[in-house]
């Protein structure tokens, strides 16, 4: 019996495990496996849902102008940028809706209004995304705010424009009543004025008519009197001229009378169906705002709200950039800096290569020129003079690098 056999024999008696312990161990292991499998299935189901959510947040991060691949290294910063993207999207949608309302308000056909709204929504989206992408990193100073000014101005302009139709919608009942009353009053005044015109024209017409009758009577009487002298003949001609003039005036007055009468009839016919004009509605709103503080405050609050809303993505990005730069921003800066440095280095290398190539070409040209010069003057100069001239010319013309090269 060797020593190992001795060790084995020493504990042989207690070697076999009990079936109960085996069953208990098996049960506990299976319970753990089952539990983990169930939780894995739950996680997979959740991750299936997460896949769609991930796609949405990816889109939102893209809208925020952040570099998605870079941001993946800092998952805790994703929420900031996806929220910013959501803000950009929301503002674009609200802007588009506002522009659609504005276009519809100004009487543009609905399809055209939709197209204009979509285009403006796209412009707002791109502009905000661009600003969010460019502000931040190294650009967290006053220049960042300056670059955002055009966007803020555009937002302010749109806010002012959109606020009016929105206010009109809010105070629709009041504005309609007010504008209708104004319109009624104006139309009553118009009708009264027209009637007064009509009466005046009628009076003129009657007078002209009476005058015409008098002149016609006088001419008729005069034509029956055969003893009329020369003087009477002159008076008759004068009466005829007057009659013609009166008839012309009469016809003019008749036309005017008809026109005024037509206007009175038209105003009476169209008044009930008349759609309140945009200008009259706006005027009614202004008058309401002048008379009622609530309307005035609401109108300005609306303008301010829309202005803040449209400037919100850019303002948020500026606020984000003004704080301590995050890990993502620092890395983005670093990569920007590195790519800029790489570009500068490559440009400098290219410049050096070009300079060297130019110098080499100049050297070659000079060498050839010197050889030609020496060949031409070989016969006319003796060797030493020719060489002296050529060397002198070459020394004055040759770039220093050539001398170094030689």
């Amino acid at each position: 019996m060797d020593e190992l056999e001795l060790v084995r024999v020493f504990r042989r008696e207690c070697g076999e495990p009990s079936p109960a312990a085996r069953a208990a161990a098996r049960e506990s292991l299976l319970a753990v496996i089952e539990d983990e499998s169930a939780s894995k299935a739950r996680r997979e189901r959740r991750e299936g849902g997460d896949g769609a959510r991930r796609a949405v947040t990816d889109g939102l991060v893209w809208l925020s102008g952040a570099d998605r691949a870079l941001l993946d290294r800092f998952p805790h910063e994703r929420a900031r940028y996806s929220s910013l993207g959501a803000l950009v999207l929301a503002v674009a949608i609200i802007s588009a809706a506002g522009v659609a309302l504005l276009a519809e308000f100004s009487g543009v056909p609905q399809v055209v209004a939709m197209v204009i709204a979509l285009v403006y929504g796209g412009v707002s989206l791109s502009l905000d995304r661009w600003l969010c992408a460019t502000i931040g990193g190294r650009r967290r100073d006053a220049r960042a705010i300056v670059s955002a000014i055009p966007r803020i101005l555009l937002g302010a302009l749109l806010a002012l424009l959109i606020a009016e139709p929105v206010a009109l919608r809010i105070f629709d009942a009041e504005v309609t009543t007010r504008a209708a009353a104004d319109s009624m009053r104006a139309s009553a005044e118009f009708e009264r004025a027209r009637r007064s015109d009509y009466e005046r024209l009628e009076h003129i017409y009657d007078r002209l008519n009476a005058r015409q009758a008098r002149l016609e009577l006088r001419l008729r009487n005069g034509s029956s009197d055969r003893t009329a002298n020369r003087r009477d003949a002159d008076g008759r001609r004068s009466d005829q001229r007057r009659l013609a003039m009166v008839r012309r005036q009469l016809s003019r007055v008749r036309v005017q009378l008809l026109r005024v009468e037509g206007e009175i009839v038209m105003s009476a016919v169209t008044r009930p169906r008349e759609r309140l004009a945009l200008l009259s509605r706006l005027r009614a709103l202004q008058e309401l705002a002048r008379e009622n503080t609530t309307v005035l405050v609401t109108q300005w609050a609306l303008r301010l709200f829309l202005l803040l809303l449209f400037a919100l993505p850019v303002a948020s990005r500026i606020a984000m950039a003004m704080g301590k730069p995050s890990a993502y921003e620092r890395l983005a800066d670093h990569l920007d800096e590195r790519s800029l440095r790489a570009w500068i280095t490559s440009t400098e290398r290219l410049r050096d290569e070009i300079t060297i190539a130019h110098q080499a070409a100049a050297d070659q040209w000079l060498r050839r020129w010197r050889q030609e010069f020496l060949a031409q003057h070989e016969g006319t100069m003796d060797g030493d003079d020719g060489m002296a001239v050529a060397t002198d010319v070459a020394a004055r013309s040759t770039p220093p690098s050539r001398e170094r090269a030689d």
């Binding site: 060790v7 207690c14 070697g15 161990a25 292991l29």
Partner: protein, 175 residues
Amino acid sequence: VELDFRFLFEAHYDEIASYARRRQPDRSLADDVAQATFLEAWRSRATYDPDKGSPRSWLFGIATNLLGRHIRSEQRRLKAYQRLALRAAPRPDEQERVHELLDARRMQQVVAPVLAALPPGQYEVLTLFAYADLSESEISQALGVAPGTVKSRLSRARAALRARLATEVFGASDG
């Protein structure tokens, strides 16, 4: 690598439990260790590397680590065996096997103090070799030590045992 733990359990529970019982005289503790070995293996299944050894040696490595937490109690019990062997006389029902029992007691008297005196590293290698029938390479995989280290620990442990046997058993019988 996807390990089928149901299969692993069926294939290796008995030998793991047997190894635990041989090492840990407290049976309930040994059974707990055997059970905990598979639970621990399940939890750390991601760390299993097939290049570093078979699942069997990996399981024995986990069991050895778990038993290592109770190594002091093992050593205390081994010393107790020695004292018991010296004091206890066979009970009446053991009278028929008295020679056999006396041999067993004697073995306890010889083996227990040597095992109790072994450094933990040598003790683990020796028990894995003797109780779990692991080869030297499997022991090296299980304990995560170099094969040369396993070999030297095993030979030192065996040499210690042999030396004791030479004086206590073989030496006595020879004399």
